[in-house]
Subunit: 272 residues, 2 copies
Amino acid sequence: MTPINILVTIDANYIQPLQVMLKSMFLNNPEEHFRVFLMHSRLAPDHVDGITAFVERNGHTLSEVRIGEECFCDAPVVKHYTKEMYYRLLAFRYLPPELRRILYLDPDILVINPIRSLYDTDLSGWLFAAAYHDIIFAREINRLRFPEYNIKAYFNSGVLLMNLETIRARVSESEIYNFVRKHKNTLILPDQDILNSLYSQDIKKLDGFLYNYDVRYYKYRLLMAKKQVTMDSIVNDTVILHFCGKRKPWHKNYSGAFHALYKHYQKLALLP
Amino acid sequence: MTPINILVTIDANYIQPLQVMLKSMFLNNPEEHFRVFLMHSRLAPDHVDGITAFVERNGHTLSEVRIGEECFCDAPVVKHYTKEMYYRLLAFRYLPPELRRILYLDPDILVINPIRSLYDTDLSGWLFAAAYHDIIFAREINRLRFPEYNIKAYFNSGVLLMNLETIRARVSESEIYNFVRKHKNTLILPDQDILNSLYSQDIKKLDGFLYNYDVRYYKYRLLMAKKQVTMDSIVNDTVILHFCGKRKPWHKNYSGAFHALYKHYQKLALLP
């Protein structure tokens, strides 16, 4: 099987969650080889060395993609989001030109089942593949925020499969910068807003239950993709659990249906 | 290291939970060798073969301890409990005479950390080691139910470390039968009632937070053994999670803080 390319972009606050995410992915994909591309601008060399050692100890490879201070200097930093959140959209400019696809993953997720079916999604003609979150609510809000864009759906950018060949041909850095300059004041989730405003018609829809399950939904037993959501179906079938929102499972006083499972993987990730 | 002897007693309804329990124990104790003694009277040979194959596939050994119909014929079957629940107290009569200690485990538990510290508990002078559950409430009830016995504490019998050498010398089958005949109508948890009424002063107290954590307590964040209970402390330190009560994590519509973690081990146990 071909290796699976994974893109992550973090700052120093997310090193441990990143390791938990990677550990869960490695453990549940024992037959895969992962090439992890770590895109960053501000991690200390010691931190990069630590992450590299972690990935190699688990039998996989890590490539550092260091972004110089001169890059992205026009992009606004909005609220509590770091500049790294823009990286995923322009990652293609800094990744090896021979890569044909890569899967971007947020660090606040667990990969609890084999990821191959997601990675091998047919992307012919598409730029990206992603899943919806909060579709109706988000769509209405975005119609008010970005009335001139024909936003068909609001995709979550935390799990983003990239067709690098079509992205290189069709995604324009200047178009993204122009959008950012124009909407600086209304951006809430900058990268996600850009993705949805400029490219929503070029994003293939993934099954959100399988590939980007918002754990906050569990409490309400929301039907997703017409499936009855049970703990069995999630643990057996869902590939990616996404701990969306401000409350994270590594925070004190977090509670949620997947708290113990998260701590389980955290323990395994931190074993020497 | 010496092998760890484990005693289990189940009927056909508990085969899958037993496998989940054993799988969690094997996974979290990769350096141990377990000898599992399966005491039963009514399992079909196919079932025993299946459990044996499961244990051996995981690198451990299973010994069947088949109890004939002629044994325990005087013991009452109370309510929804099966006769197997009496076995643990008289297991010593049917186990190999060279065994010096054995750890009885209920099938409704997960072993999430190394079990060696529990197994090696110093039992000099004691018959058993066990943990308290619901101590104040249970003690009062039992004072009413069994006024003639000096019940010092109410131990949970779901995790019961046995000092087989002293048990052989001091536990009397006829004393147990006499107690059962006398209290047939007031027994609620027969084996546990016997254990506490006859032997509570010979049971060494285990740390319940570490070795027999009642998962129903989590919701109320009960302090046990003066420790602050957090999800981190449970996942990192607790050895045994006990899914006490009638609602079990393998039932439909179960909910609880450790549901996802249980399903995780269930999935691993059922992998081919």
